[in-house]
Every structure is written in structure tokens, then in C-alpha cells.
Assembly symmetry: C2
Homo-oligomer: 220 residues x 2
């Protein structure tokens, strides 16, 4: 197993101390989110599209309609960049110049390939579902053969990647610490509000544990 | 002023009803966030990098270190794609297949150019700062000439763009509405926790209004 995922292309040039290339750091960030931005090129024009993902070992899975332009293009084994960003806070410094953000991000370079085996496809869809709402898959109607055919799943190997992380307080110029300016961090995270039941839901259907417990989850 | 920002390249093909191309819808989404993902191509490899932005009229500004590889590349008037995504909720359907997300996203295609005029540059930095923490700029030490030189600002015209929006409850197959499966939406939003003062902050410096008021802001 490759454990160091750096390459010339993924090495963090600006603020190299914020860069990390070990699989453990990269996986921990990937597992704290489920939304990524996928970059790809068509006729020399870059496109960046948000989509959900799931990680299984050293593979990232994304899915979408088989009719999707993005998925059709990606299935042609073109170069992609998958970026995951978690915003953790606003870093308010004493000077405008030293303002920053606390964040954890991962950039993966690679080529996507179509998952064609039906068993692997269903497992990949389960992986994505579990990444977003753990426990949900087991309680809903599973996909029919027709629905599986209408869904494309792509795998992207996590082999060339980097993480970039900033944490902690602002770092100001020495002479600015005496300024009468409030400085610190505003922590930020994705939060859930109480679930809103579908209006067509019979009153006999109770809120399941996997939805109740989701309130405390800080994923995204 | 161009008010309809569609092009062949930005027209939403999948679920065209979710697409919008009017400046008002696009601006409203851009103004509810401050983090974007910028896509660009180097040696046919796409890269997607998260960064903050500010909108002023029909222009989006991004900034970074003048030493940044991304900003140096973008300043060469290459094609870029700027994507802004706001996640509003998880849509839990009765079938695995009909699960979805509520979101608002904008995709802008264009070419970035370097802001060289010092006055325009400082105004653009103010625009970005106000987009992230309104009221902050006026209370901090402004940038020095040296700091301004160390900062690159790029402008991206908002002229070819699309928005994509999903709202509302799950849409299930007719026969699935009778299933004993909870369905609905888990609303999601970025939230702030109470600000954490820098340890080196003198106790005499009080929390300013623009930080106190930020607690209620739902931006991101």
C-alpha cells in the first residue's frame, strides 16, 4: 500500500508547512466530509462541479445519472482533480493582511473509471450513502435493476494527493500585538437543524435512530 | 448590462428545471457565500483550489499571495471555472435511488485578469473582506504598500454563468409513498460557535459589534 501520496503536481508550494501527504491525514479529512468539487477539462475549458462521494479504502466513489454530461465525460478516463474542503473557522488578525481561515482540504489527482460490475456498483452506492447518512441504506427501498442501470458510478484511486491544513490563532506582526484590535477565531462548522418530515409521511412512521442521531454529527 | 448569463457551455443539461441564468438569482447565491472552488488547467491537468472571494457588481475578486502558483497561473489570462456551492439540506427519500440534496450553486466561466491599479486593488481587498466579515476592514490595521505588493488580486467577470438550485421535499415513486420509511429533509447550514479570543489579546480589548453580530449570520 502506498502511504505517501505526494507528487510534483500535488506538493504544496505556498506555506509548505501546511501540507501533508500521508494516507492517514488525507483519509481523516475525506471521512469528515461527503461533498467534493470535481474538476475536469472539456475542449480546454475547465469545469468544476459539486457532488457527493464515499471513500472505501484507497478508492473514492462518485455517482450520478447515467445521462449526466459530467459522468459521461469522466468515464472516458480523463484527468480529474477532486477537492474536498472543510471550513473550520475565520481567523481574525489585527491587520487586514494577516486575516486567514482555518480549514482542512484534500486535493486528489487521478483518472476516473466506470464501475460496471453490478455487485461492485451496488457496494459503491452503499459506500456513498453510508458516508452521507450512516444507517440510512438498510432502512430504505434498495435500488431496482432499472435504477442501477440509470445510475453511473465512477471510481477514483486515491494515489496522488495532498492535504492542506490550517489551525490555531492569528499570527500577527510583532508590533501589531499592541494594537487595540480584537483578534481571534470564529469557529465555523456545518450544523443540522431538526429534520422536517415529508408532508405525505403517515403520522405512524416514527423518526428513525439514524436521523435522530444525525443531529450531533458534524460531518460535511 | 447583460442580464441573461447562459451560454452553450453553462446551460444545465441534467434536470434543466433546476437551472437559472438571470443575474439576480446568481448574485443572490454569490452573496450568501464567500468560499469558491477555482478550476484551472496546467499541462492538461485540471486543478481545483478553494479560496475566498468578494463580489462587486458584475465582477468577482479573488486574492492570494503574489508568490502563489495558482495566482501566477491565473494571471496569465487562462480559462477558469469558479464554482460556489451552498449545501442546504439532505433529502431523505423512501428509496435509495431518490435520495438527493438541497443546494444552491453557481458556475462561472471566464478568464481572470490581474488588478494592477493600487486603488482598485485596495478596493477589491475591501470587497473580499466585507464579503467574509462585514465591518471588519474598518477596525483593523490597513495594508501597507509592501503588503499590497505581496498580494495579488484577480478579477473574473460574471458574464457567462449558471445557477442550479434544488429545494423542497423528496420526490418518490408513487408506489413508494406507502412504505413504512421515514422521509423528509435534514436542513444543513454553516454555523458559528462563540468567538475564541487570541491568547495574546489584552483583557481590555472588548469584543466588537461586527464579531458579536456575526453569530447570527448564515453566510458561507
Amino acid at each position: 500500500m502506498k502511504t505517501h501520496l505526494a507528487s510534483v503536481r500535488t506538493t504544496v508550494k505556498r506555506r509548505p508547512k501546511r501540507g501533508a501527504y500521508d494516507r492517514e491525514t488525507i483519509n481523516a479529512i475525506l471521512d469528515d466530509a461527503f461533498l467534493c468539487h470535481v474538476g475536469f477539462v472539456i475542449d480546454s475549458q475547465p469545469f468544476v462541479i459539486p457532488t457527493s462521494y464515499g471513500r472505501d479504502g484507497e478508492t473514492l466513489f462518485i455517482h450520478g445519472s447515467a445521462a449526466s454530461r459530467m459522468l459521461k465525460n469522466l468515464a472516458n478516463s480523463i484527468d480529474v482533480c477532486v477537492t474536498v474542503t472543510i471550513l473550520d473557522g475565520l481567523v481574525l488578525a489585527r491587520s487586514a493582511f494577516h486575516h486567514s481561515m482555518n480549514y482542512r482540504s484534500v486535493v486528489i489527482l487521478g483518472r476516473a473509471s466506470l464501475v460496471t460490475d453490478p455487485k461492485e456498483k451496488e457496494k459503491a452506492l452503499l459506500t456513498i450513502s453510508e458516508q452521507i447518512v450512516p444507517g440510512r441504506w438498510a432502512e430504505v427501498r434498495p435500488p431496482t435493476t432499472k435504477e442501477l442501470k440509470a445510475t453511473s458510478v465512477l471510481r477514483i484511486p486515491i494515489n496522488e494527493a495532498s492535504a492542506k491544513v490550517r489551525t490555531g490563532p492569528p499570527v500577527d506582526d510583532d508590533e501589531d500585538y499592541s494594537l487595540d484590535v480584537w483578534a481571534g477565531v470564529i469557529p465555523i462548522r456545518l450544523m443540522c437543524s431538526p429534520p422536517v418530515a415529508d408532508e405525505r409521511l403517515p403520522p405512524t412512521v416514527e423518526l428513525p435512530d439514524h436521523v435522530i442521531e444525525y443531529q450531533l454529527d458534524q460531518k460535511a
